[in-house]
Symmetry: C2
Subunit: 345 residues, 2 copies
Amino acid sequence: MPKPRIKTMEDLSVAIGVSRPTLSRFFQDPNLIKPKTVARIEEGLERVEYVPNFFATRLNRKSTGMIGVIIPYLNDLFFTKLLEAVEVAAMEAGLSVITKCSHSDPLIEARAAETFMSMNVDGALVTPLGDHSDQAVYQRLKSRLPFVLMDSRPTTMPDVDYVGSDHMQSTGLITEYLCRVGDPPVFLAMPRVNFNALGREAAYIAKMKELGFEPEIIGVDAVNDDGYFEGHGEAVLDKAFAQGQLADRSILCVNDRVAIGAIRAAARHGLTPGRGARGGLRIAGHDDYPLCPYLNPSLTTVAQNTDAIGRKAVSRLLQIIGGSVATDTPEISLFDGELKLRESA
Amino acid sequence: MPKPRIKTMEDLSVAIGVSRPTLSRFFQDPNLIKPKTVARIEEGLERVEYVPNFFATRLNRKSTGMIGVIIPYLNDLFFTKLLEAVEVAAMEAGLSVITKCSHSDPLIEARAAETFMSMNVDGALVTPLGDHSDQAVYQRLKSRLPFVLMDSRPTTMPDVDYVGSDHMQSTGLITEYLCRVGDPPVFLAMPRVNFNALGREAAYIAKMKELGFEPEIIGVDAVNDDGYFEGHGEAVLDKAFAQGQLADRSILCVNDRVAIGAIRAAARHGLTPGRGARGGLRIAGHDDYPLCPYLNPSLTTVAQNTDAIGRKAVSRLLQIIGGSVATDTPEISLFDGELKLRESA
DNA sequence: CATCAATATTTACGTGTGTAAAAGGGAGGA
DNA sequence: TCCTCCCTTTTACACACGTAAATATTGATG
């Protein structure tokens, strides 16, 4: 017994016997209408099938109640974790989020931004690609709507609000830990297209100098070309171990995915990283990728506070939307990382 | 030097000196318009900033050019891989996709479905929750628009198109492999709320009987309650190993995430699964989770053909949208799994 | 220069809803 | 009974664009 389907609010108004503007207000907020009328409307909605047209409702509204989020990868649990935090925060604020993935392609990223602007979203949250994002797109975004960057901060966009981790603190934290408990670490980096990678590299160098050690960086050149972080970490260390190098060193990886590859390379060479044997191989990461506790050995790392980052990004966006804030000077929110001590270092 | 911003196509038409209907057709397909006029329009668009309003363009169109996709989790690389395949296929077909994540909540799933219907999407692709989806939602979805289920097939929805893996084949394949190379495996299952888990369990039983072995199933009851697959696998095996059980058995896990937990439990008890020692511990999974090659030991598993599944789901949707197909009888498309032999079994 | 076809413009109406102002109606109090 | 007051309805317009039919323009051809 399928209910009769009603397409327009007009038709619904005659079916229920309530004027269309009243229905319009009912769907926006039932409290605006007398309880008795509300009851009649709800009773009528029981008998028929009707949903207000998404486009028509948004066409003539000042606020669409939507925010757009752009992330660079889907196949990365860090970003999905961040996205979840954003979605939860947005839901609590009564916003619906439209997610677009740029697949690390500047063109797709630009298209997504265009889409958001054409949809009159109330604001946009963007996790930028490395240095190959089209910064003109960001300029337009900033000039047209509330706009907050997350996780990665392009040097070319100093005037945009930003929420992320304090690499100086987080990378400094694990660097210092590694130095205290064992030999000072080598830094396993990434090809220099990623601002986070650069920031952490700089933080590592600073902390090492502060402690009086000589910084040492490897993995800046791409060894493999499959584009995956794990593959990079494995390839770099596989080569090093094969040449009899690094097998007794502490290795701080730029992020956990690289560290996963690093651990794998160690295993292939019969090495088991861990804090057990002094002077032996140790491997640490950064991010607290969800699988860290389940690796063998489990991965010592620094957790990014994705929950706080997502929550802050949304609340900052709401501030700007609300207009209760000066936007001439950007707000930079950095959250501390938290040491996660496990087996690998 | 910000370009002047133009809001409506009307304003644009006076700014460029081309009629509005001509502009409308230009934005739909420039080929409909004389090259000389196209040049003039494009030249004009260089000088001003204008994007057609998303809602207005969709409001009065027969086809919105959008499809909706619902997945249950974001923090699962299997689903993100599937989503990528869908997005690629959709992009090639000129469709844009709207993704919603239900966070394994039937209410959110239902809301997402409502949203899709109110947006007049051309079709919907849904990866259902386990047995707790609201099937009334699916019924409405099916009655209102082209609708294809992916990955998991509720028994309550036999009349809906479905694209997924052939569990009988894939689970049979790895079961047979394990039986040939070593002792017949135990099946490490999941609490029975997941149709895939049930399907694979049944496939395991069938193959074992076919080969003349006695099926043996563990892990049906939840041991932990954190909701993560890895935690389930680890908890079940940790308990078993602690009791001196299963340490010399072959263990086929219902999926790779459970297997990751299983391997972790083994490591904690000093066990290294692998096909090396006859009669020793072996662990295998299902899905080919992207991290399988990087685990220690790397995980032997059966790859689901997510690429083919995503592609087929989109093409089937396009068929239904095109109307060139009988929808009275559902099409069930099952793809074969492919054995991925690695170290763990 | 006239003619025809291709293309562009004009005109007019449709899409489903938001929103504001004015007019209508019923309940309560004087 | 009359008069507020509050809520609802009516009326009207706005939103930005799709679409179709009729008309005007352009260019090439003869």
